[in-house]
Symmetry: C2
Subunit: 155 residues, 2 copies
């Protein structure tokens, strides 16, 4: 009588999707807590601010594309930021469905406070890697992104 074949096993701790997920969550949580504690912002709101600072007058749809947020999430983040007085909605002259979003002076003010903190936190994190390693990591992640989502651009 044949042995029952040993089933293949899967060690979670070496399984890439698991490792990536755990690592990403650990990092995100740490930063999210910073945004929330210091400024009362969610990560989504912060992302909206970041792309709006980069491209004033951007539309909600375009924000979604650049941040990989779905339109509901964008809508909610925008609503929250407007309520907090950090973002302003300007009706577009050529398309009444869309709005042009811009940061208010208050929004720009806290943006300028957050950026250095975020960059410092990133720097602290990657300081464990040499410059060369940092570059290499970025490159490898780019390759993975291509393989994971051949359809859409991730960044």
């Amino acid at each position: 009588m044949p042995e029952k074949p040993a089933a293949a096993t899967l060690r979670l701790s070496t399984f890439l999707p698991f490792r990536l997920s755990v690592l990403s969550n650990a990092i995100s949580q740490r930063i999210a807590e910073l945004y929330d504690r210091e400024f009362g912002l969610s990560v989504w709101q912060w992302r909206v601010m970041a792309v709006t600072a980069d491209t004033p007058g951007i539309s909600a749809t375009e924000i979604g594309q650049r941040t990989q947020m779905d339109k509901v999430a964008v809508s909610r983040a925008v609503a929250g930021l407007i309520e907090m007085g950090y973002l302003e909605r300007r009706p577009s002259t050529d398309d009444a469905r869309r709005s042009n979003l811009v940061l208010t002076p208050a929004g720009l003010g806290i943006y300028d406070l957050i950026v250095p903190l975020a960059l410092a936190e990133e720097a602290r994190l990657v300081s464990a890697l040499s410059d060369k390693e940092q570059t290499e990591l970025a490159r490898l992640m780019g390759k993975l992104a291509g393989a994971s989502s051949p359809d859409r651009e991730l960044w």
Copy 2:
């Protein structure tokens, strides 16, 4: 009159926490859909199955440590798996608070079906990288994990 100093800007697309999060989500979602569509499992349920297959008789608390899930998530995943008939709870003889968890034959059955699919998906993904690059990626992620969570072991 001095110029208003140009505020530091932050390009989301090169900001490591953002890139990691987007990449991880893209990969996780693809795999989650596989588990759900083919087997009706959530990612958490799958993780519980994976560590239970690896260590039969494991406790819920230990599952939490190994998978980085909090105890509520573990509790819910376990309850779901038991309901589906994939997992069995055995009261521990030496500590009445804890249960020893084991996969049922049905649970082992689908575990054996899932493992090759999960490994194949991972292989498809990392096939964009050479063997050397794969090793390097794992190494760099390990370093980052250490830097991001000096307190607890991530894997």
